[in-house]
Amino acid sequence: MPKAVTQILEQVGRKTVAWVEELGYAAAIFFESTYWIFRGRKVTQPVRLSAIFQEAAEIGVHAIPIVSVLTFTVGIMLAIQGIATLKTFGAESKVILGIALSVTREFSPLIVSILVAGRSGSAIAARIGTMVESQEIDALRVIGISPIRYLAAPLLIAMLIMVPALTILGNFMGLLGGAVYAVSEMQISLATYAERTLEVLVVDDIRQGLIKSVVFSVVIVLVGLINGFQVKGGAEGVGRATTRSVVMAISLILVTDMVFTYFMNR
């Protein structure tokens, strides 16, 4: 076999092994976290409530303004595009359906998750990475504290609560944004718009978005954690891990979104 081919094969092989290893690592963190969440209290090592609240405030509460603004903007954008496109068929009234479905099923969970990945996923990687570098993780372990219970489990719980919660907020703000533009463009009242939105929206649409947001929250936490825990090489390594976690989380969010959308709409 020519040398170039073997080299490429070797590269592909190495990358694949590295990916599988990382996937295994993420799975291990996930299962250990769930162990501590459900069994921790029994072995008198509960997951700290105060940490959950603190993380939830950081991940969720502090993201409320930016999530509101962005989803509102996306709502308006959808309305503009929707009305412009549907006008060519003379079906502007259908824009309400278009906005309602695309916001709840797709845009709200997606925008919220990407935002949280950028804001909090990167922060997780940076914080854990710094702790690895300064031996704080080792210090936890020698004190007899599992870093997974102490750091990872609260993050997981906080993320699982806050991302879906932000998605619900995003749904509302997105629909509101769409409504504000559509109402002025189509000369109908806000009440009529709301009524018709509620007519077309079914529980399943909201549920689809929320299921996705749950999956995305797990992705964000695990990607942040594996990148943080594997940090090597000082401040530069922490920087690299942070960047990598954002790129990796957003890519995985988009891919899993596609897969879930495909299976949930069959």
């Binding site: 704080e136 080792d138 210090a139 020698v142 007899g144 504290i145």
Partner: protein, 276 residues
Amino acid sequence: MATAAVKENDVVSPPAIVVENLVTHYGEREILKGISLQIQAGEILVIMGGSGSGKSTLLRSLLGLLRPSAGSIHILGTDITTLDQHEFRKLRRKTGVAFQGGALFGSMTVGENLQLPLREHTRLDENTMRIMTRMKLEFVNLAGFESLMPAELSGGMTKRAALARAIIMDPKLLFFDEPSAGLDPVSAVELDHLILKLRKAMNTTIVVVTHELQSAFGIADRIAVLDNGELLVTGTVEEIRQSNNPRVQGLLNRQPREETLSAAEYMDRLTSYIVD
């Protein structure tokens, strides 16, 4: 004086640490090549060696942060290479570690740092914990610094605070990673004095890993010299000074280790990267 204390202890208590044929790997590379070592209860043993000697790896193995490829490590009578997480946790209550950079939790105050082990392992009330924190900070001359953040401490203060955290549970066994590294001479000596004072006050077994000769000679009952993953000699300060092992002498006289390669080995190393 120190040796006398050790001899007394020899009779009554079993060794605090017994390491047998410890081998560790980093990837394919063998780091520790079959280390055997006994540390008596109540003694101060200094593990000495240059960088790359494997002393940090040995420490990480003793702390249970690194799984060895072969061999056994008995700490206070239990083999830590076979312990599960929960059993190990019990043992952790009896050991303390002061890391090189302190490793104080940056998001907590000094006081909270000290109280963390108490909160995790005991059900003491807040007042008792506060008193214990104060006592340990007093011991390391940092009383009144409870509410400071680690970032506000100087290098020497950080190390002393880390020592205070390490001894908060009154451990039987204390590990110290490079106590004098990065400190000015006065702070370094201060810390050495603290280590001696600690042993006197609580009869703690203390394992110190360092590359600082002066500090090692100042505090050690016995010194174990590590080089290239092997234990060269173990002995009292005097025995180490008088050792006629050339590598030990090289280390003491700060001579770089000379690599002895045969011509064939040298050629082999040069050409090993060439692939036909």
